[in-house]
């Protein structure tokens, strides 16, 4: 278990914001996080930050204050937020700093996720492969075949996301969509339709962390980081943009990061009251429920039918609308999940507050080329 607490959080609204740079959104998130715990930028002893497409995070010091602090830029694809948080925890636990800030922001053009990745060689993209959407379609298609998940369950995940997003004033897409609307939207990559995919977006999140034993100096409602684990893929893991994969099967970096985090925290999946799981598309949320240990493979079909992952269900999942309703500004997305969990544990989640006073919250972020980050928070 870690000895680190989150004492301040700040977010810039997710969505599309013409004329507001990604850096602007990061700066706003930083100012809001500082205000949340009554601190100044000059109080920060270190910073860790990341953005994929919106400039080197450390250049923001010319906007928020040239105080000389060590500022580490991290870039780990969609898992950038998880990496930033893990490095911030290491920095505090090593004694290199007692109070610091983790920052993520981004701004992507429409369609920015269509083709990318180091293996997007000419022949590969030239042949009509190399689209990340294809990977997601193929991964969930195989998973549905193996574990008896049906297409209406994908639509249920999408409808839940937009229903929750409608309750979240910081979300991008705030219009509820029915299961039919999700299922009947444009088919992009069988079996996944348009509203089952998240879009590249914009936004920023910052959070202020400190040594757990000092947390009460900064807030009367500290949230403790019981675990922060990052793992990369092992041999045999099925990942995006792979011209070939091995016959050998590995459970993937999500299972590994989840096991490591539960071990660090000394608790199990049954102790979790609310979870934010990477939902790049609807199928990902389903697979990640099992990969993170919250059910057996195949049980998701019944859980969704029962409403178990609704805000008032047994295990609320993606209570803020997830990537589907918030879009995915890569550098900010992982920290958005942690932000939502802090709100839920504080009891500040408003209309989407999980009932019964949640005590333990879980986040999982996943990104190319096969990296997962998990955090476990508690009051």
């Amino acid at each position: 278990m870690s000895d680190v607490a989150i004492v301040g959080i700040g977010m810039h609204e997710f969505g599309r914001h013409d004329g507001i740079s990604g850096m602007d959104q990061g700066v706003t998130a930083v100012r809001r996080a500082l205000a949340d715990c009554g601190q100044q930028w000059s109080d920060m002893e270190f910073a860790v930050g990341g953005s994929m497409d919106a400039g080197a995070a450390d250049t923001m010091v010319s906007r928020v204050g040239l105080t000389g602090l060590p500022f580490t830029n991290v870039v780990n694809g969609c898992a950038t937020g998880g990496t930033a948080l893990a490095q911030a925890v290491n920095t505090i636990e090593s004694g290199a700093g007692d109070l610091g800030i983790a920052i993520g922001f981004d701004k992507h053009e429409k369609g920015a996720f269509r083709i990318k990745g180091p293996r997007g060689k000419d022949w590969y993209g030239g042949s009509g492969l190399a689209l990340t959407t294809q990977f997601f379609g193929m991964k969930i298609n195989r998973y549905m075949h193996e574990h008896g998940i049906t297409r209406p369950t994908l639509a249920k995940v999408g409808a839940k996301a937009f229903r929750n997003g409608a309750l979240n004033p910081m979300a991008w897409r705030r219009k509820p969509l029915s299961e039919e609307e999700v299922a009947d939207s444009l088919m992009l990559s069988y079996p996944l339709t348009q509203y089952m995919f998240c879009s590249p977006g914009e936004g920023g999140v910052a959070m202020i962390l400190c040594r757990a034993d000092k947390a009460k100096q900064y807030t009367d409602r500290p949230i403790y980081l019981k675990a922060a684990a990052v793992r990369t893929r092992k041999f045999g893991s099925f990942e995006v943009l792979a011209p070939s994969i091995a016959l050998e099967h590995d459970a993937g970096p999500t299972s590994a990061a989840s096991k490591a985090a539960f071990e660090q925290a000394g608790i199990g999946p049954e102790d979790v009251d609310v979870a934010q799981l990477q939902d790049t598309e609807a199928g990902a949320e389903i697979m990640h429920m099992a990969e993170n240990g919250f059910c057996e493979h195949g049980e998701q079909e019944q859980m969704l039918a029962n409403g178990d992952t609704e805000i008032n269900g047994r295990l609320p999942v993606n209570t803020d609308g997830g990537c589907l309703a918030n879009g995915e500004p890569i550098g900010a997305s992982g920290l958005r999940q942690v932000y939502e969990n802090v709100l839920q544990l504080r009891g500040d989640a408003g209309e989407r507050q999980v009932p019964n006073d949640p005590k333990v919250a879980y986040t999982h972020v996943y990104g190319a080329p096969g990296i997962s980050g998990v955090t476990i928070l508690s009051r």
Partner: protein, 151 residues
């Protein structure tokens, strides 16, 4: 039966050869652990051993998973038709027994006709024509019909 391609030009070197008009994928095999890789690669991610030999991959296998690419990929890099000429196409991983699973275009794009586990065979696939009028060819997999031919 495949119609012969008049002036085939491979989409890239080192990915496959055309053997009597039939593509053969060029892979590597680790001499230490037998792990197969495609495209050719130096260094084995399974055992970290550094000695690999060139191998030709199997031309038949079974469909491990699939999807249908329903919108035109961005061109470039995509070399096939886009805009109004675009037609949805299948994409899948075909399991080559004892070797690996290879990603490929599929000649079939109807979800009703694609089934995980079905038998597949490699065929040449014309993406388009280059400025010299040659057919730019990549590899694809086609379902094998009951009498053993690809459909």
């Amino acid at each position: 039966m495949t119609t012969p391609i008049a002036n085939p030009v491979a989409v890239a070197d080192g990915i496959f050869t055309l053997n009597d008009g039939q593509p053969v994928l060029l892979g590597s095999r680790c001499t230490n652990c037998d792990n197969h890789m495609f495209p050719r690669q130096h260094g084995c991610p399974r055992c970290m051993f550094n000695e690999q030999v060139d191998v030709e991959l199997a031309t038949r296998g079974t469909l491990w998973t699939w999807t249908v690419q329903a919108f035109p990929p961005k061109a470039p890099p995509y070399l096939g038709p886009v805009g109004d000429d675009f037609e949805p196409f299948g994409v899948g991983y075909v399991e080559l027994p004892g070797q690996l699973r290879v990603e490929a275009r599929l000649t079939e794009s109807d979800p009703e006709k694609l089934q995980i586990g079905m038998e597949m065979e490699i065929v040449p696939f014309v993406l388009g024509t280059d400025e010299d009028g040659n057919d730019v060819v990549t590899y694809a997999f086609a379902p094998v019909t009951q009498n053993g031919d690809q459909s």
